[in-house]
Symmetry: C2
């Protein structure tokens, strides 16, 4: 490739970054996609890895394989540590990489609202490693309980607290209830997995605030029927090895899962620019930095507002729209055309599952719930998986698990040794 | 369950231990199966996890799920640390568990022939964690090479040394050659994965010594045609971060994989009895200890000889036969019958694949090689997988990968950060 073509660097191969790279498919440019992982993770199904329904490889695919046929794209597995906006290069742990255009799409991570010391005891769910760690933690809780005689300790081990009543929290609570009531029901001798206690804690007045109130009510009722203890208007004030403190009292628990908040990746710090409270970079109408029209920030890393003044939500379709917009915009500039219209977010809808056979869906005026919603949810997620192979594998796995009440990926792996809790 | 029934403790849920537990299905006894993992690992396909063809969950299944319908069986995930043969109990990190009969089936691990300091740089392949570690190491080598400009460093990174020319070594070498020549061929821009160098080192005069010499020659020729550098009569004298020293010179390499030897688990030490050079416990004709007719040692942990005087090989069918024998024997004793015939090993055959489309098979007088051998190998391995679900998933994965030259599980996961090598 000639050295004279513009160098476009995309940092982060999540939904936004990948879409930006793909929109540059036909640009006469050198596109470099940098990610610290070798895989793109399909985050909407990550909770299924955490709850032993799918394997990591079902929801994560090598970035370079996704882009193998895009001849102008190079993929590098490196970790970015700094951006020099004045001299136009980024620094990784290994290299310095110059750019003419830079797209930062580095996503977000869990936020403990200033209590990072809770991270070791209350893992969140953003990466493949988080998912296998939570899977290990859930499965080990049952194993430890089976091996001990002390009833109080058993009860504590078999209490699972999920903090945060958004989509991830609801999906985790529903899936853990399924594991306890169905998957594991017949597999133990000393304990009854069905006696496990699953507590879903939400600080606000209702679950899934993105949905209409009657759907929140439906979700709450469905979870409670599945045996989940739903506590709204409840604030966690402390997480430790033994459970959580809330404004309504202590809950002893063997496993605490954090699904309560996110904070943007440190792009604002790299750039030395202002960020909002969630760490997101403030961008202009074309998603570029005010002082640097060649630097774009997209996805969960950017503070973007819809035409109604509401912030654009941190969901996959939003990131994809921004990625497509920025990729197309840069392609136009590279081709010598002037910039087009400002970015405009189009909200397609919201969906969330509540365990086996139930989901809520809101697409414009279309509202679905229960089994019909669940079928819609399943079809939509399979459709968005990359590649026929994964669609087929995940569809088969779900179908099989639906028929048998089983989960195929019940592995406790990793270096962590089982501890005496 | 009444307290008066005999307590049978089986330690290790590999092929031998599981078979022993299953043979006790109808015994009026309390069977406790203890393993430090929650899963049974189908070791013959572990190399496919290490080479990104299968996911861990495709070849590992929860032990308690396998035994869920055996009402007299309890499964505990615990690590055994000692056996008190005089007072008849075992000690785990958490509990003391009494027994009337004890079956030790704790397998083997890699042996570095007194050089345990090689373990961190030359991982072996026995557990799921070993496989994902090797997978990470292979995939990261290509990623690192793509990100660097130094040709010498690239060449070193893209050199893979496999030590040991038995079935595991041959299968790993063939699979890594497939990855480099086919799977990754189109995915990189700065390096050509097909230029990767794969070196298979064997101390003896030929590969796969369990097979007839003409089949060893065929395996060698097939591997060399696939681009593998096969070096027999070559002894590794040192492994370090940068490669291996051999009696025939130094080989700089980014990845070294150990498939050269095994040593039995520490059962002999627990029992305070004599072991052979490979750490295996010497057992009597009924696989029990001479001084303790209630303690049996089976599988890779026991030194057992076939009727022709040769040692019984450390393969799955041998462990299963021993497990079945001991389980049946204990069941008879529990039922008040006297012991039966001594254990007699029946060798069914040997098989090994050499990458895509080639394998060697020797079953009595039946000898197959090439594509026919590969089909036989595939069908045999799918047949022995536990459960219809896994048979279907693995069959589909292989079929798909065969058609597309792809591998579905190319994930770099785990806590290890990519290092500057």
């Amino acid at each position: 490739m000639a050295l004279s073509v513009p160098r476009i660097v995309v940092v982060g191969a999540g939904f936004g970054g990948l879409e930006a790279a793909k929109a540059l498919d036909r640009a006469a440019a050198e596109v470099t996609v940098i990610d610290r992982h070798n895989h793109h993770c399909f985050q909407p199904l990550l909770y299924q890895v955490a709850t032993a329904a799918l394997s990591p490889a079902d929801v994560a695919w090598p970035i370079r394989h996704i882009l193998r046929d895009q001849r102008n794209a190079t993929v590098l597995m490196e970790e970015v540590v700094a951006v020099d906006a004045a001299r136009k290069y980024i620094r990784t742990t290994m290299n310095e990489i110059p750019y003419d255009y830079l797209v930062l799409a580095t996503g977000a991570t869990h936020s403990y609202f200033g209590h990072d010391e809770w991270a070791p005891v209350a893992p969140g769910l953003k990466r493949i490693e988080d998912a296998t760690r939570i899977r290990r933690s859930i499965l080990i809780a049952f194993e430890r309980a089976e091996a001990m005689a002390d009833r109080a300790a058993q009860n504590r081990l078999l209490t699972f607290v999920i903090v945060g009543g958004g989509a991830t929290g609801v999906e985790m609570a529903g899936a853990i209830a399924d594991i306890a009531r169905q998957t594991l029901a017949a597999d133990f001798r000393n304990i009854d997995p069905r006696a496990a206690r699953i507590v879903l804690i939400e600080a606000g007045p209702r679950l899934l605030p993105a949905f209409p109130p009657d759907m929140s009510d439906y979700v709450r009722a469905t979870l409670m029927k599945a045996g989940v203890d739903v506590r709204t208007d409840t604030m966690v004030t402390k997480c430790d090895e033994g459970g959580v403190d809330t404004n309504a009292g202590r809950i002893d628990a063997g496993t605490v899962i954090w699904a309560a908040g996110v904070v943007a990746s440190p792009a604002a710090r790299w750039l030395g620019v202002e960020a909002d409270r969630a760490g997101r970079v403030k961008v202009g109408p074309d998603l570029s930095l005010p002082d640097h029209p060649e630097i774009f920030v997209i996805g969960d890393t950017a503070a973007v507002f819809a035409s109604d003044g509401h912030p654009v939500p941190g969901i996959a379709p939003a990131a994809k729209q921004m990625g497509h917009y920025v990729g197309t915009l840069i392609a136009a500039r590279v081709a010598g055309q002037s910039g087009g219209k400002p970015f405009r977010y189009r909200h397609l809808g919201d969906l969330a599952t509540i365990g086996r056979r139930a989901a809520v869906v809101k697409f414009g005026r279309l509202q679905l719930k229960g089994f019909v919603g669940w079928v819609f949810w399943s079809v939509a997620h399979i459709y968005f998986l990359i590649g026929l192979r994964y669609r087929f594998m995940v569809a088969f796995t779900w179908f099989w698990d639906y028929l048998t009440f089983q989960r195929g990926a019940r592995l406790i792996t990793g270096s962590e040794q089982p501890r005496q809790k």
